[in-house]
């Protein structure tokens, strides 16, 4: 079990809803409602799901960028939820994040060199000259000419900015990186460059990724295993080939059937889900998916299905499987 770098156990993140005259808590948005998975060293785990299903919140909560409501996040056996602020700051060096929007996630008043090198200097890992060398080195690795070091973020294109975001995360030599939709703000032509860059860097440095995306083809390309989230829960998790070839959960089936196939003659069966995503502050009883599930039965309304391993590391949460 040595190669497990991250063990997430029943992780929860609830956001309080405040209301009334005195702004007291009147309810909770259950953005992440008990998810569990393990991440191996050197592995890429894709997390997919539609907008608002809690993918990004899950990523941020694992890094404790949001305070954790419940559950455990064991990083190399240490529970992140229990770290003091000081310990957490040190641990942050080992777990980094590439953010979704490269236009807003870089401080507009700092140069690229300052953005990438700041953590190195602040954590006293090296002095200014060493940091500058390291920054230039990582910029070249990420495909940015190092003479851009004194430029400001607004002088770059979207793809270049995302490279800055990646360089910023990797300069600290982290053990795992959460990529929160790193390519969804970019043009398709740039997307493949960035994804290949992420893949190459992983081969060189052997770190683990959690790759959050709503784009199934991107996830299929980069991931070893894939988790499907719906309304704050993981409904299915399996090896990439297994989940794409043999999806078991009705929601996963519907998602898979929505992948466009570049062949106009091929007939395929589309499962169209009706209705909207229910509110995470007031989710349906029993199985949260039952309101949109084409196969829902009485049992689904009464009991929440257990999230269980049906063999070969294929996890699924559905009564009908």
């Amino acid at each position: 079990m040595d190669d497990i770098i991250l063990d997430v156990q029943n992780l929860k993140k609830y956001f309080p809803i405040r209301g009334g005259v005195f702004q007291h808590t009147v309810g909770y948005v259950k953005a992440v409602d008990g998810i569990s998975f393990q991440l191996k060293r050197g592995e890429t785990l894709g997390i997919v799901g539609e907008s608002g299903c809690g993918k990004s919140t899950a990523g941020r909560t694992i890094l404790r960028l949001h305070e954790i409501t419940g559950g455990k996040v064991l990083f190399n056996g240490k529970d992140i939820a229990k770290l003091s602020k000081k310990e957490l700051r040190k641990k942050r060096l080992e777990m980094q994040m590439v953010f979704q929007d490269p236009y807003s996630s870089l401080n507009p008043r700092m140069t690229v060199g300052q953005i990438i090198g700041e953590a190195l200097i602040d954590h006293k890992l090296m002095d200014k000259n060493q940091a500058k060398e390291k920054v230039e080195e990582i910029m070249e690795v990420c495909g940015l000419p190092s003479y851009y070091i004194n430029r400001y973020p607004h002088e770059f294109s979207g793809g270049q900015r995302q490279r800055i975001g990646i360089a910023r995360a990797l300069v600290l030599d982290p053990q795992f990186v959460i990529c929160d939709e790193p390519v969804s703000a970019l043009d398709v032509s740039i997307q493949s460059q960035i994804i290949n860059l992420l893949g190459d860097l992983q081969k060189e440095r052997n770190f683990s990724y959690i790759f959050i995306s709503h784009d199934l083809s991107v996830v299929e390309y980069i991931s070893n295993r894939v988790a499907v989230m719906y309304l704050g829960n993981i409904v299915e998790l399996a090896d990439k080939n297994e989940i794409f070839d043999n999806p078991l959960h009705p929601y996963t089936k519907a998602l898979m059937s929505a992948i466009p196939v570049p062949d106009p003659t091929r007939k395929r069966e589309r499962i169209i889900l009706s209705g909207d995503l229910p509110s995470p502050s007031n989710p349906p009883s029993g199985c949260k998916f039952r309101t949109r599930c084409p196969m829902a039965c009485d049992k689904c309304a009464k009991e929440a299905p257990e999230y269980r391993d049906i063999g070969g590391g294929h996890f699924v949460a559905c009564h009908l499987v």
């Binding site: 890094l63 807003s104 507009p108």
Partner: protein, 320 residues
């Protein structure tokens, strides 16, 4: 950059001419004139007319305007009818008294508003934030004359800590440090009054600006780097949050010299605001014109200054 400044300065000329024309028409349309304000009822109507002719007030408005403009271009803004000395000298005599009050109040305002606004934003909806919100709206709602009267009543009449009004104690002539101390004591109440009047809105301004920045993605990026919260707030957030405040500081330049008409009048402070208010009553149109032009120049220089400062603090809009 140099070219940009020259262009902006040249652009001021037509604007100033336009401003002067409109203000001159407005001043001329006031009922009565300097002669009737000073001497009506004291001398015969024929004498009044003679005096008018002497001051050139009997000529048509347009003729008077172009006479004034011709002189003003040569740097001659005329002689104040009330003070019998050149307008520029009147401004020079009184403006520094106003500046003294305004600059101290302005510095105090920033020293209070920025930290309070920042803490309010960082701890939104905390007790501190709610208390500061109540305080801000309370002082925003207070009219200056009411606040000034309360301050005078409590601290001067009842407690006797500070002098009631004026700038120096009458009848004594202090020198050196004693003089400075005397003026400082006289300044306290008007400065408190001016600071309170403006600190509320500035605090809210800083708070809003900071709240906007704190929610930005790059602040989360800074946290993800493992930086201490202090660095996240004061280096990443505050630096960006202060960008709009810089415009505000540039825009405050004219108000430093404009004088506070009501506050200065209530505290009998010999400032330019009080002089200007008096000059309206006296229909001293040359002083009104001269001082308005002075303010117009300051407003434009203030705008130019804040545009330049904007470029200094925000690399995104730095001029090439």
């Amino acid at each position: 950059m140099g070219k940009y400044i020259v262009r902006r300065l040249l652009l001021m000329i037509p604007i100033l001419v336009g401003v002067s024309f409109i203000v001159f028409l407005l001043v001329a349309s006031l009922p009565g004139d300097a002669v009737s304000a000073h001497m009506a009822g004291k001398i015969s109507p024929e004498k009044l007319e003679q005096n008018r002719a002497l001051l050139g007030l009997d000529q048509p408005v347009l003729t008077r305007y172009f006479n004034w403009l011709g002189n003003a271009i040569q740097g001659n803004f005329g002689t104040s009818i009330t003070y019998k000395i050149p307008v520029t000298e009147v401004i020079g005599n009184f403006v520094w008294n106003s500046f003294l009050l305004a600059v101290v109040a302005f510095v105090l305002e920033l020293l209070i508003a920025i930290p309070v606004g920042v803490v309010s934003a960082v701890k939104q909806y905390s007790i501190f934030d709610n208390a500061s919100t109540v305080f801000c709206f309370a002082v925003i709602s207070l009219p200056s004359f009411f606040l000034a009267m309360i301050l005078r009543f409590v601290f001067s009449v009842k407690l006797g800590i500070f002098p009631l009004d004026g700038m120096e104690t009458a009848g004594v002539s202090y020198t050196g440090m004693q003089h400075i101390g005397d003026v400082a004591m006289h300044m306290v109440l008007p400065v408190i009054c001016l600071t309170l009047l403006s600190v509320g809105s500035t605090t809210r301004y800083v708070r809003t600006s900071m709240l906007e920045v704190i929610r930005q993605d790059y602040v989360r990026t800074a946290r993800a780097k493992g930086l201490p919260e202090r660095v996240v707030i004061y280096k990443h957030a505050l630096k960006n949050g202060m960008i709009p405040i810089v415009t505000f500081v540039g825009g405050a330049l004219p108000s430093l010299f404009a004088g506070a008409m009501i506050t200065e009048t209530i505290f009998a402070w010999p400032g330019i605001g009080k002089v200007f208010l008096d000059s309206i009553g006296q229909r001293d149109y040359l002083f009104m014109m001269g001082f308005t032009m002075f303010l117009a120049v300051l407003v434009m220089v203030g705008n130019l200054l804040s545009d330049i400062l904007y470029g200094v603090v925000d690399p995104r809009i730095r001029l090439k």
